[in-house]
């Protein structure tokens, strides 16, 4: 890992299907009063209504090298055009690349790692993917382009949210998060988003993601389902049939109100509570709100429990298994529900693996491990980013990678911040246990 001083021109890659709102976003960026000189390279004809910026139309040219290894595939059009742009006196503060809806983001990103000229002068700042919340369901399962655009993204705009019911957007966001935990997801109408959310984000800035969502690197939930209920004070029946397991753990948490935001705000506490010791509840027993892990005993046939509510309000019931497996019945309909799919069900899908540990890593061991990992699994690892605490270095080391390529540099001093390592892999068929174990063996 070599030290580089960041004086390279930042590049943002804008991906998304035709009609997702990419051009709207681009126009927004160009008309915003940011005082920056932006050069735009367009591969798709869009109506850019700005004259004072440099807009270059280019035909996408994919250059395969080394017998077509996908990790060495780059974009010839970008090398040619950007190479020329960098010679101009009036240099640019920022470069935006708008890809076609069906473009594979990997060669675009790899261009900034593979080509020596590009690598020295420009740095990939981020991949921004715009998603049409209305139409993405038609593509998300079938289209590898759609999946890759989501998996490669640092920022995802769920656009046109005004045209879709809120519940569906929640479902979409949950689905996207399963694939790419590292991306920041913003819900937008007409691609309205703050420029600071998409420009100069520094592709490997994990900090903000960590600040906002403590669950960021811990995607496996110990529960499969949560239902939000509006309860009055009093006693409710909870009836369950026998199911695949003889017991089921459940936690009931009070909420501020019956909303997804409110549900999300207690998720983390629910996770912690699920790691507590179970309190067995025999049939006829009662479930009460708070950080108590109830273990409902469900052997043989229908069982009846009670939910005891002292104060009227919204409550979230988190259950270890999906309640349908036990035909759970409560006399009140839930106001909203959320499914938490355990990660192991998606082995064949694109997913993220996050690793967070304390301690310092041994630079040599890490290099060796990464080299082996990427040479064997680089094709399936789309993105990789992280902050590392390297033994004997006072500064944080930040890095990001695309397939087999990576780029890293020392960042700010650790100072009083506790030294730790946070890294995330996004890709296909990732081996969570293997990655975690491999990384832990690199600790000094």
């Amino acid at each position: 890992m070599t030290e580089t001083i960041e004086k390279r021109v930042p590049v943002t890659v804008l991906t998304g299907f035709l009609g997702s709102g990419k051009t709207t976003l681009l126009n927004r960026i160009l008309t915003e009063q940011h005082g920056k000189r932006i050069a735009v390279i367009e591969n798709e004809f869009g109506e850019i209504g700005v004259d004072n910026e440099l807009v270059i139309n280019a035909e996408e040219e994919i250059f395969e090298m080394n017998n077509g290894c996908i990790c060495c595939t780059v974009r010839g059009d970008l090398i040619r055009i950007l190479g020329n742009l960098m010679k101009r006196k009036d240099s640019f503060d920022y470069i935006m690349i708008e890809t076609t809806g069906l473009a594979d983001p990997a060669p675009v990103a790899q261009t900034f790692f593979v080509d020596d000229e590009m690598r020295g002068r420009m740095a990939l700042d981020g991949v921004v993917t715009v998603i049409d919340a209305r139409h993405i369901w038609q593509h998300i399962d079938e289209s590898s382009e759609a999946k890759e655009q989501i998996a490669f993204a640092d920022v995802i705009l769920l656009n046109k949210t005004d045209l879709v019911p809120a519940g569906e957007i929640d479902r979409l966001e949950a689905r996207i998060r399963e694939m790419n935990l590292a991306a920041k997801v913003y819900r937008t109408e007409r691609a309205e988003v703050g420029m600071d959310k998409i420009l100069n984000i520094g592709g490997f800035n994990l900090d903000r993601a960590l600040e906002v969502d403590p669950m960021f690197l811990e995607p496996e939930y110990p529960f499969e389902w949560a239902g939000v209920y509006q309860f009055e004070a009093g006693r409710y029946d909870l009836v369950m049939q026998s199911g695949p397991d003889p017991t089921m753990n459940a936690v009931l948490m009070p909420l501020e109100n019956a909303s997804f935001q409110s549900l999300e705000s207690v998720q983390f506490d629910a996770v912690l509570t699920f790691s507590d010791k179970e309190q067995p509840v025999e049939p006829g027993g009662s479930i009460s709100p708070g950080t108590i892990l109830h273990q409902l005993m469900l052997r043989d046939g229908e069982k009846r429990f009670f939910i005891d509510i002292r104060r009227a309000g919204a409550y979230a019931l988190f259950t270890q298994h999906h309640p349908d497996e036990f035909a759970m019945a409560i006399p009140v309909e839930y106001a909203l529900q959320k499914e938490y799919k355990p990660d192991h069900e998606h082995d064949e899908e694109i997913s993220s693996v996050g690793i967070t540990t304390e301690g310092d890593v041994d630079e040599k061991k890490l290099n060796k491990w990464l080299q082996k990992l990427l040479s064997e699994n680089g094709v399936d690892i789309f993105r990789m980013k992280g902050i590392l605490s390297i033994a004997q270095h006072s500064r944080r080391f930040v890095f990001q990678g695309v397939h087999m390529l990576f780029d890293g540099r020392p960042d700010r001093e650790w100072g009083s911040e506790p030294r730790h390592n946070s890294l995330i892999f996004i890709g296909r068929n990732l081996d969570r246990a293997g990655l975690t174990k491999g990384f832990e063996q690199c600790l000094a």
Partner: protein, 352 residues
């Protein structure tokens, strides 16, 4: 440009003059007589400077959005240029008058090249290749190439020219729209260099390799292991040595005897950054080189065997220009050297 130490003299002599054009010089070309040097600048202007000490300069309007390439006609009467306005322009070299402006077929004209001994001009823009006469008429338009054409070079002493793009190297003439010969190769070719005897054609490639083809047999060889993409290629006058960039070291392949396969190349080490300009003399044995950090070197490499490559092979003359070297060009009589930089300096050294 001031503040640059005058080069130490020995191999080629002292600075005759220097000029500051104030803009990155992307291409430099000597007129066939050696009387003038033409320079194309990234922002679009084209300048013709007289090589004698009067240093008279004529500036041509050039190209909107940027100039890319230049070529002199074999008799020195015409100058052709191409740029980011999608035009090929034909200029009267003596008066600077624009004679013709032609549509090259795409937004960026990457290459224009006059035939070595005929009034024909070839242009490459995007995937389009066109052949022109001196009246600005398109003599022939060739079928669109599979990808953007990166380079076009005339085969020495012939009316054939060779184009390169991702995936192929193809040789054409005026007589037919179809290539008379083509070599397929799955990779991105950046630069083409015919050996002066036209026995080999070499390419420098994006994947950090150099490829050779034997013209007659079509046999090919690939030399890989460069540190970076290879764009700088130059054959020596005897068609034996090919000097290549692609690294801070200059790598020279000896094509004499059984050819370069399996041999260890000569390496010249003095530059600290990737070599950005390279040219052998037309008849002599000196090699000039420049790098991205501004160092210029003049070498006499033929005397060095591969065994001596790591030590003893020092340049005859070297100095630092303080800005990336973009071109090094020997005068037709080999007695003068013109160099240009990314900051717009042109320096002319030696006798004329």
């Amino acid at each position: 440009m001031s503040g640059v130490a005058a080069p130490a003299t020995n191999a080629i002599g002292e600075t005759r003059w220097e000029a500051n054009l104030g803009d990155h010089v992307i291409r430099l070309a000597w007129s066939p007589s050696g009387d003038s040097v033409a320079a194309a600048c990234v922002e679009g202007r084209i300048h013709v400077l007289s090589a004698d000490s009067t240093q008279r300069t004529r500036s041509l309007a050039g190209h909107e959005h940027g100039a890319q390439c230049l070529s002199w006609s074999h008799d020195g009467r015409f100058l052709a240029s191409g740029g980011q306005d999608g035009r090929v322009k034909l200029w009267d070299a003596a008066s600077g008058e624009l004679l013709h402006s032609m549509d090259a077929g795409a937004a960026w004209v990457e290459q224009v090249a006059f035939a070595p001994a005929a009034p024909l001009l070839v242009s490459a823009a995007g995937r389009h290749l066109k052949l022109w006469n001196l009246q600005g008429d398109c003599v022939r338009e060739y079928p669109a190439h599979p990808s953007t054409i990166s380079d076009v070079q005339w085969q020495p002493g012939t009316l054939f020219f060779t184009s390169a793009c991702y995936g192929q190297l193809a040789t054409f003439n005026a007589g037919s729209a179809q290539p008379v010969k083509s070599f397929g190769w799955k990779g991105s070719i950046l630069a083409v260099a015919w050996s002066p005897d036209a026995n080999y054609v070499a390419t420098g490639n994006q994947d950090a390799s150099v490829h050779f083809w034997y013209r007659k047999s079509g046999k090919d060889l690939e030399m890989s292991g460069y540190g970076a993409k290879v764009r700088e290629l130059s054959w020596d006058a005897g068609s034996r040595y090919l000097a290549t960039g692609g690294s801070a070291n200059i790598t020279i392949w000896d094509c004499g005897g059984k050819g370069p396969a399996g041999t260890r190349p000569i390496e010249l080490r003095k530059h600290d950054a990737v070599v950005s300009a390279l040219e052998y003399q037309h008849k002599g044995e000196l090699l000039a080189s420049g790098c991205g950090e501004g160092r210029v070197c003049v070498w006499r490499p033929a005397g060095h065997s591969a065994k001596q490559s790591t030590k003893g092979a020092s340049p005859l003359q070297t100095w630092d220009e303080g800005a990336g070297i973009t071109q090094v060009r020997w005068a037709p009589n080999d007695k003068a050297l013109a160099i240009s930089t990314a900051s717009g300096l042109i320096r002319l050294l030696g006798a004329i």
